[in-house]
Symmetry: D2
Subunit: 341 residues, 4 copies
C-alpha cells in the first residue's frame, strides 16, 4: 500500500486521476494540491462526486508536503519544472502528466515550448511512459513522463509499422481530431458551445507541441521519412481519433500488416486490434486504445482512437504506476463498472 | 429609403441584425457602433461574412453620430439607458433590443435588474413590440422596446388563451429551454462546450428577468392566475422551446382552443399554427414562431418555438421597423434563401 | 451467490444490465436470452465490451431455461406477458424492466397500452420497485415491476411534497426532456442524427404511457389535483431532466420544503438533494437522482435528473435485486470506477 | 426565364435545390418528381417550408413530362441512368447531382459502383461541373455531372498545387470528415443519434466511390503520385472538412504556395482563401468553399471546407445552371439573407 499526492488535481484530467486513486486497492491515502483552487472544497469543484468521494480541502502547492510515496503532477506547461527536481531529490517517485519532461533535448523546449528548461539534466533520467509498448524500464523507475494525448493515439498506431518498414516508408501523415476537453477548463470565447456547436476546425497546424514528441519517439523505432501532423477540434467533449496514412515504396498485404500488429499487441490488455475502423465511443471512459489497419497497394491507413482524459492522461498514468511497482498492469483500470460519478 | 445605425452590432444578435440591414431594400446605408470592438474591422469579428458584406471599421459609441433615421440598439442591460434619451430627444427613431425599457415601472427595474432607472419617464412612451399580436401603436411610433427572446415565444403561445379564459384559468406554468447563444459571447467556464456537451440544466429559477416581462404583458390580456416560469440551457447554440401548461376550472375542447388560435393568427405571416408539436429546427434561421395546442380534460398544453436570435431578437426588430414605417411586414424576412453567410 | 438470466439483453438497457450483472459480487453466473439477436455473439452486438466481458452466444427466448434464481426482463411492451407467469409459477424471482405490470388495473392497459392484459391477476402481486422511497415490501418479494424512466425522475421529485401538501396543492405539471436512447435502438428516420442534431420537440403530448403510471403512484401519496405531463426529445443520447411546477393555495417557505426532502432522503444512498438546479451530466452513467427545490410565494419548482438507462432502468433494477435479497443496497452500484467498457 | 424539373426532390439535397429553384429570378416555374414520395404533398415532407413555398403534389417519375427546359436529378446511385438518356435525346438540359456519370470510364463503374453502365457513350459527353475551376465547357453544355461532395472540397483544395508541382509531389493523402446528412435520410441504426452522439468513425476506407472520382480529376491536372483518401463521420448533420497533406521532394515556401492559390481563385466568387484554418461553420448554409494553406519544409497542408448539401450538391448545381445559361454565376446564391425556412 502506498500514499499518493496529486498536484493540480482540479482540472478535467485531475478529476479522473482522483477517482482512480480513490478506489485503487494499493493506494492507502491521498492528498490533493492545487494553485488557484487551494482552499476550496473538493465537492465544490466536482459536485458530481457527492456521495462517491469524501469531501476534503484542496491544499496549496505552496505548502507541498513530501510525505507521499508517489506524486502525480497535472499542471499547465512549465509548472512541473517547479516540483519535479525537489521531489526526485528526496527519492520520491513522480509521474508527470504534463509536457515538461517528455522531450529529450533542451533545444526542443526552446523551439516548441518557448521556455528555457531549468532542469534539463533530468530529461535523460525520465522514462517516457508509453506503457503498452513493451518498456521494461518503467519497472522500478522513479520518474515517468506520461505521454501526451495525441502522441499516445498516434504512436500506438504507428510504431509496429515503422519498426518493420522504416526503410520502405516514403511519407507518413497523421490527421487527428480531439474533443474540447483537451483544451482545458479555462474560459475562452473560442471554446464556448455557442462557437463550436456543429463546428470543426484545424488548429496549430505545423505548430502543435505534440509533433516533436511524436517525431522523437518514432525516430527511436527507425522513422526516417517526413512526418506531418494536423490537429482538429471536434464539437464534442471527449476522445481523440487519429488517422495515419503511410505511403511505402513497397506493396504490403493487409494480412501481413495485421499480423505484425497482432503479434506486437498479443499480450496487451489495453490495445484492441479491430477488423473495422473503431468507433470513438467504444473507448470513451476507458483506458483502451482501439486500432484498425487497412492496406491497399503501397498505402497503409491506420485509425486509432482513445479517450484523451483516460488513456491519453489519467488512465495511462495509473497504468504506469502499476507497472512501476510491479503490480498487475490492469489494477483499477479494467473494472467493467462504468459508474462514473 | 432610410439610413440606419446599429449600436452594439458585434455580438450574436448584432450579426443577424447587420445581415438583415445590409440587404433590406428600404435601407440605403448603415453604420455600426460598438464599445470594446470599436476600431476593429467588421470582417475580423465576423470572418464568415467575407464576400457577403463589405468590410468596414466599427465606430466607437463614444463618437456616436446622429445622422441616421433609425437606430437599433443591441447592448447589455443598463447600456441602452445611455443612448435612448438623447436619440429620442433629437426626434430619431429607436428600436431597443435590450431590456432597459421593456418593463413599465421603475420599481420593477430596482427589483429585477438591480438598477435605478435613469429615464423612467420614457417607460410609458415606448411601445412594446410584440409585433405579431395586433398592435397598431407600432405604426408611426418612435420608440420600440423589442421583446425578450423567452417572452416572445411564451406570449405568442399564451395570449389568445389568456384573453379568452382569464376567469377560468387557475394556474399557468411555462418551462422553456434555450440554446446557449442567448447567454452571449463572453467567455465563461460554465458555457464551454466541454461543460455543456450532453448536458442540460435549469438556471435562474424564480429569478429570470424575463418573468416580470411576461407577467406584465399577460396581465394586460387579463391574466389573474399564478404564473411560474423556469428556464433551462440546451446543449445546442440556437433556438428556444417553450412548453406552457394551463390548468382551468373548465373543460375545454381542443377544437375550440385551436379555433381561437387560428382566428387570432389568421393574418399573421410569421406565426404558424401546427397540428403536431413543432420541431425547433423548423424555425431556426427564420423569423417564424411555430405553435401547437393540445387540450385534454381541464388542461391545455401549448408548445411554441422560435429562433432566439431571429424571432427572439433581430428578426422581430426588423419586423418592427417594417411596421413602424408602414412597409410590408415581411420585407427582408421571408425570402426563402437560407444562405446565411 | 445467485445465478441470473437476462431476457432481452441486447438493447441499450440490456447492455448496462449485463455489465452490472457481470461484475456483481453476489452473482455467480448469468445467461443472455433474446429474440431476433438469438444466435449472435455478444461481442458482435457490443464490440465495445471486448476485453471486458467474455464472449458468449446469445440464446433464444424460445429455448428459455428455468435454471436461474432470478430473471431480468428487458423487452418491448407486451412481451413480458409471455414469460412472467411461467417464471413466477416455478417460484423464480422476476424483475421486469418493461411496462407490462407497472399499472395496477387491467383497464389502464386497454386504454394506454392498447392490449388486453393476459395475466392481470399478477398486477396486484407485483411490487412497484421505486426503491429509494422506503418500501419494505421489496425485501423478500418475488416480482418487481421496475419503474419507467420518466416516472422514476418525476416521482422521486414529487412524492415528499405531495405526501405533505396533498390538500393544499391545486395543480401539478411536469415537463420532462429525455435523451434519445429512451426511444430504443430500432432504426427510424425521425431518430436519425441528421433529423435531431440541434433539434428539440415535444412528443406524445397527453398520450405518454408513463402518465398513468405517475398518476397512479402519486395518488397513493394523496395527490388529488390535476396533473399534466409533457415529454420532449433532447438532441443527446443519455439522461432525463424533469421540471415539476406545483401551485398551492398556501404560501410555503423554501426552507420548510427543503427540510421535508432532507428528512425524507436522509438515508438514501442514491438521491442527492442539491442547493442549485442539478446538471444532467452529474448523473449520467450513475445510479443517482439529483433533486433541487425552489419555492416562491405559492409555487414550488422541483428539478430532478437521472440517467434514463441506469437509474431509470438497469441501475434501479440492480438496486431492487440488492433489496430483494437483503444485501447492501449499493452493491455493485457505487463504485467510483467510471470505466464504462 | 426557364422552366425546371426536379427529379428526386424529397431528400436532404432536394430540399435545398427546391428552395434555390423557388426563388431564382430566372426560373419561371418548376415541378417536383419522385419515386416513393409520389402523391405526397410537399409540405408534408418539408413542414418547415409552410409559409415559404406553396404546397404542391409530388409527381411520379413514372409519369415524367418533358416540358421543362432543364432537369435536376437527385437520385440514388444507378437511378439517373434511367432518365438521362431520354432527356438528352429530346434536347433537354440535364444537371445530374448523382454519381452515375461523373466517372469517365465504364470499367470504373464496374469496379467501384458494382453496376454495368447502360449508357457509357454519354460518359464522354458530360461536362464535369467543378464550376469554380475555370471551365468554359460548362457554358452552352447540355449535360453536367455535378461533382460529389467530398471531391468538391478536395479538388478545390488540391488542383492549384497539383497543377504546379506535379513532378515534385511524392505523395498526397486526404482525410475528410462529413456530417451525417451526406448519408441520406433512410433509417439505419448506425445513423441514429443514439449511436452517433459524441461519436466519430472512419468508414469505407479504401472503398469510397469518391476516391476514383478525385483520382480521375487530379490526373487531368498532372497528378502522378499515390493518393490516399479516408472518410469519417462527424456527430453533426452538416458540412465537410477535408485535410490534405502533400509531401514534396522540394522545399516550397508558404508565400509561394499562397500566391499560386490567390492567383488561381482571384476571380472566384465562392472560393475564399483564408489566413487561418477555416471553421466549418463559416460555410454551413452557403455555397462557399474556404481554403487555408500551411507549408513547412517539404510539406504542404491544405484544409478546405464546404457545406455538403450546398456547395457539395444543390448550390453547385445552381451555379452550374447559371454558368450553362451564361447568367451571372452568383444569381440566387450570394444573397446575404440566411432565412432558411
Amino acid at each position: 500500500m502506498i500514499s499518493v499526492g496529486i498536484i493540480g488535481g482540479t482540472g478535467y484530467t485531475g478529476k479522473y486521476l482522483l477517482e482512480y486513486v480513490k478506489q485503487h486497492q494499493k493506494i492507502l491515502d491521498y492528498s490533493i494540491y492545487a494553485n488557484s483552487s487551494a482552499g476550496s472544497q473538493l465537492l465544490d469543484i466536482f459536485p458530481e462526486l457527492l456521495g462517491v468521494i469524501e469531501n476534503q480541502t484542496i491544499q496549496s502547492v505552496n505548502a507541498l508536503s513530501f510525505e507521499h510515496d508517489l506524486y502525480f503532477i497535472s499542471l499547465p506547461h512549465g509548472e512541473s519544472l517547479k516540483y519535479v527536481p525537489m521531489l526526485l531529490e528526496k527519492g520520491i517517485k513522480v509521474i508527470d502528466l504534463g509536457g515538461d519532461y517528455r522531450l529529450d533535448s533542451k533545444e526542443l523546449y526552446n523551439e516548441w515550448y518557448g521556455f528555457e528548461h531549468s532542469s534539463s539534466n533530468l530529461l535523460s533520467e525520465k522514462v517516457y511512459g508509453l506503457v503498452d509498448i513493451a518498456n521494461e524500464k518503467i519497472l522500478n523507475s522513479n520518474f515517468i513522463a506520461n505521454p501526451g494525448c495525441y502522441p499516445t493515439s498516434v504512436q500506438l498506431g504507428l510504431i509496429p509499422l515503422v519498426k518493420k518498414f522504416s526503410d520502405e516508408i516514403i511519407s507518413i501523415s497523421t490527421v487527428s481530431y480531439s474533443g474540447t476537453s483537451g483544451a482545458g477548463k479555462k474560459a475562452k470565447t473560442e471554446l464556448l458551445l455557442s462557437e463550436l456547436d456543429g463546428n470543426v476546425k484545424a488548429y496549430s497546424v505545423n505548430k502543435h507541441r505534440h509533433q516533436p514528441e511524436i517525431e522523437q519517439e518514432l525516430a527511436k523505432y527507425g522513422m526516417k521519412s517526413p512526418y506531418a501532423f494536423t490537429t482538429h477540434l471536434l464539437p464534442i467533449a471527449r476522445g481523440i481519433y487519429s488517422t495515419s496514412t503511410v505511403h511505402l515504396n513497397y506493396e504490403v498485404s493487409e494480412d501481413e500488416v495485421k499480423q505484425i500488429y497482432s503479434d506486437w499487441y498479443a499480450d496487451s490488455k489495453f490495445v484492441r486490434m479491430r477488423n473495422t475502423p473503431p468507433e470513438l465511443k467504444w473507448v470513451v471512459n476507458t483506458n483502451f486504445c482501439d486500432i484498425n489497419i487497412s492496406a491497399k497497394d503501397k498505402t497503409v491507413i491506420i485509425t486509432s482512437t482513445i479517450d484523451n482524459l483516460i488513456k491519453g492522461a489519467s488512465g495511462q498514468a495509473i497504468q504506469n504506476m502499476n507497472k512501476m511497482y510491479g503490480w498487475d498492469e490492469t489494477l483499477g483500470l479494467l473494472n467493467s463498472n462504468f459508474i462514473k460519478a
